[in-house]
């Protein structure tokens, strides 16, 4: 099932976004692994709080970035789908 604008994504239990102070970067921490999100993924992941819908996240990003809302929405939906498949987020 694909994510929709009404989907409220949350981090899977045991997975979280964390600031790596020593290396001045953000990382996603999970059991026995970590990965470094790119700038786009990071902008989205920082809005994931288990309460905000994808639609609200898109509104927030559209207000901050100079791109059409529809383009941002498509990017965010694809990204969230990917992060769900990778077991970082759950719908």
């Amino acid at each position: 099932m694909s994510a929709a604008e009404t989907t409220v994504p949350a981090f899977v239990r045991g997975t979280r976004l964390s600031h790596d102070r020593a290396r001045d970067r953000w990382v996603v921490l999970a059991p026995e692994k970590l990965f470094v999100p790119d700038a786009t993924a990071l902008a989205v992941l920082r809005l994931v709080d288990g309460a905000r819908s994808i639609g609200a996240m898109v509104d927030d990003l559209a207000a901050r970035f100079d791109a059409p809302r529809a383009v941002i929405a498509a990017d965010v939906l694809a990204l969230v789908d990917d992060l769900i498949a990778r077991k970082v987020l759950k719908p």
């Binding site: 899977v12 239990r13 045991g14 997975t15 979280r16 964390s18 600031h19 790596d20 102070r21 020593a22 290396r23 990382v27 921490l29 059991p31 026995e32 970590l34 498949a85 077991k87």
Partner: protein, 356 residues
């Protein structure tokens, strides 16, 4: 040079189980010699400042330490990702609640087999398997992410497919199937544990089939045995590169088995800061990077992939910690590995159990 990413905090060597494949040293640290709570809190603080992101509380059985929840809480407060590596036999509802409340992120629960009687035989602990099942139920009820870990060898590897199905059925999110590494106590039991090539191929197949069967519902990590391979494993992701181990007595090690290496003095966190140890000690610098490598390794395309393989294995099988990993097909010491494989007895000798 970067700080370490991961800290293995070996809180104690004490353990109710007596597994013949234990990779802890033959001579175990006694309770009196263990770092105390304040010392561990300090180690955790230094580790976080140095750049550690994951802390693995291990042992022995870390739940033998009554201060485990306090240490988890401290680590969690420092922003560290906290993982408990446990046999589960000391787990009960109250202890788990205290750990969950302290901010524990993840539990890795060990199983010795999927067949209960065999599991108890290998662990040398009657009722252990049933206790682990109760622990798994508690962990699942607390909604903590759970990994099952199976150490596999010639006496249980026929059941790898069943182990993976069992992990899925008991609600694990992830399962590790790890072939035995012959370090520490396990080296004594090598003939009793080493699979032959036919068993190994069946094991590889069982894992591949389970991956198809379970799809993305279950993460399956498979640690292959390297005696049968001809390229060494990237042991610890490279010496002194990502990984820091602190033993129960405070010795800081680049890997869990490094204390077997002669001629190296591993500094204690009781004498030096973790930063001094990581960046400036002779022990952590000894096999870091590529300069220490034998000629063949330095010129090898895989030198940044396997980092020269395992130093403890080089010592154990070639008698020289600085030699090429004897598993490597290009190592002059490869015949030592082939001799072990060829000399493997058809009938497994009796297991030699740990005593604590």
């Amino acid at each position: 040079m970067n700080g370490p990413l991961s800290l293995l905090a070996e809180l104690t060597h004490r353990c109710p189980l007596r597994c013949p494949y234990c990779s802890n040293p033959v001579a175990l640290e006694r309770r009196e010699g263990e770092l105390d709570t304040a010392e561990w809190r300090d180690v955790l603080g230094q580790a976080a400042a140095l750049g550690v992101l994951h802390v693995h509380f291990s042992g022995g059985e870390p739940m033998a330490r009554p201060d485990l929840p306090e240490l988890v809480r401290h680590a969690s407060g420092l922003g560290l990702y906290t993982n408990l590596i446990t046999s589960g036999v000391l787990m009960d509802g109250m202890r788990l609640a205290a750990l969950a409340e302290a901010g524990l992120d993840h539990v890795q629960l060990s199983f010795q087999d999927v067949a209960p009687a065999e599991a108890d035989r290998i662990g040398g602990y009657r009722g252990g398997h049933a206790a682990k099942l109760r622990a798994a139920a508690l962990i699942r009820a607390a909604d903590l992410p759970l990994t099952f870990n199976f150490v596999v060898h010639r006496q249980n590897c026929a059941r790898i497919g069943a182990m993976i199905d069992f992990a899925a059925g008991e609600g694990a999110n992830r399962v590790e199937i790890a072939h035995t590494q012959y370090h520490g106590w396990a080296e004594r039991n090598r003939d009793a544990l080493l699979p032959d090539r036919v068993q190994l191929e069946a094991a590889d197949r069982a894992v591949a089939e389970a991956r198809v069967r379970h799809g993305d519902r279950l993460a399956i990590d498979y640690v292959t045995p390297d005696y049968h391979a001809d390229e060494p494993k990237p042991c610890m992701g490279g010496w002194g590169r990502r990984f820091l181990n602190v033993a129960p007595d405070g010795s800081a090690l680049p890997c869990h088995a490094a204390q077997t290496l002669p001629g190296l003095r591993f500094p204690s966190v009781r004498e030096q800061s973790l930063a001094e140890i990581w960046f400036r000690s002779e022990a952590f610098g000894r096999f870091r990077g590529v300069d220490w490598m034998p000629e063949t390794c330095r010129g090898c395309a895989r030198r940044e992939i396997d980092h020269g393989g395992c130093r403890c294995q080089a010592l154990a099988l070639a008698g020289d910690a600085a030699a090429m990993d004897p598993v490597c097909g290009r190592s002059p010491h490869r015949p030592a590995v082939d001799a072990i494989l060829a000399g493997r007895p058809v009938t497994a000798p009796d297991l030699i159990y740990r005593r604590h």
